[in-house]
Subunit: 253 residues, 2 copies
């Protein structure tokens, strides 16, 4: 199976069907509930139907935000968020994407994160580097006090003077891809809120691009292949920046 | 003069010439300095050249970020930021736009803010309402603790629990347009950093969409038609939210 071709095919089909609803209230019409208790909106259902149409015939395991887990006892598992940043999508903020990860025997294998608006394709096969539209990408070289970060916290952190800029774009999987391409120095969530479907594809891309990924205590980040667990997660381009973030989290614990 | 047709023509020409540089380092090559001391990057120069090509033959006054002020003693003044959010543009964040305002005898007349990626056209003639792609827009109805805001401050404000979400997109003029269309409840800058070229077009759009615009003390916002003054500016959809922001600014003064 060419997972990259399949992922992009699904992404493009979702794009075609769903983009007309960008910034429109109709897309946010609530039509059900997901296994984790979130409301399912029209665009979630539309996009997940496309995902299922392509993946069900393969008889692989599927972990997807709205539908939950389909276990077919396959060695392959697809982990998908059809629209990462769906609040942004329906509200009209220009940051959202399609997250598609393939795991083999529960180990990372391939990740694709696709931004509909920019048509940027971020992808990585484990061990083969990370790519943006076919060109190799790496995390940015960290420069002290010049970092650009995004973060999500229920505590009032104070990073003024320690980093240069904040860009809080509201689509964690896409923002991780920004770390991979060197637009962001770091992104973290310590509410904890993010789920495996949000970060699985960009986790693979970030690892291949040289990012450090830890929990809120700086330990190696570990996760399960389900739609319900929520995580504290820090993705950074440099140990020094990671330590600044960890220190600020510690002070505010 | 059909200012709307002219504005959109310039926007589309900039889009065509400049969009190939989105997210590319070449676009950020420094080729000079602006009157306010900022560096002028290749894309700034390219886009301002297009602006001047269209506006110089009209013999109107021009106030534009890189070139400064051209005074032709006309009753008409065009105030322009060819690329609002140029850091975002060159770095690869999907939020940036073209800001084009027309003042008649130093009074607001017409505003156009154009988002290149989404192709969203926000515009307003004074007294005739604000429009997004030809459809009338209004600020969002404020719901307590549900607000989505963007803000820029050198002090560590604590708005957790008082608003629901932060979206810090890094393009003030475009974010003001988000307030006008009801995606953001408020955006403010109290560094002070924003200049007239950043907000002139969206100021007109926001006013027509029903936004409240004040300085950092809650007084009516006043500004000059130049490229150098920097302002504290609050744009909000509701007096209650404005007061929450003003209170937090006061505590941290």
């Amino acid at each position: 199976m060419n997972w990259d071709e399949l992922g992009l095919k699904i992404a493009k089909e979702i794009e075609k069907e769903v983009m007309p609803y960008f910034g429109k209230k109709e897309g946010a019409k609530i039509i059900g509930y997901s296994p984790s208790g979130d409301t399912t909106e029209l665009i979630d259902r539309m996009s997940e139907d496309i995902v299922l149409k392509h993946l069900k015939p393969l008889n692989i395991n599927i972990v997807s935000e709205e539908i939950g887990t389909i276990n077919n006892n396959s060695e392959w598992t697809a982990i998908i968020d059809p629209i990462d940043g769906s609040f942004n999508f329906t509200t009209g903020f220009p940051c959202f994407g399609f997250c598609f990860a393939i795991f083999k025997n529960n180990k990372p294998y391939y990740g694709l994160t696709y931004e509909f608006l920019t048509k940027n394709i971020y992808e990585a096969y484990v061990g083969k580097g990370a790519f943006l539209n076919g060109e190799k990408i790496k995390v940015k070289k960290y420069i002290e006090k010049e970092a650009v970060i995004s973060y999500y916290s229920n505590k009032n952190l104070n990073l003024i003077g320690k980093v240069r800029r904040a860009r809080i774009m509201g689509a964690f999987g896409v923002e991780m891809a920004y770390v991979a391409k060197g637009a962001l120095d770091a992104v973290f969530d310590i509410r904890p809120y993010v789920r495996t479907t949000d970060f699985a594809s960009s986790y693979i891309i970030c690892k291949e691009a040289g990012a450090i990924i830890t929990d809120e205590k700086g330990h190696e980040f570990k996760f399960n292949l389900n739609t319900t667990d929520r995580y504290n997660m820090i993705v950074a381009n440099d140990k020094k920046l990671l330590n600044i973030i960890l220190e600020e989290i510690k002070i505010n614990r």
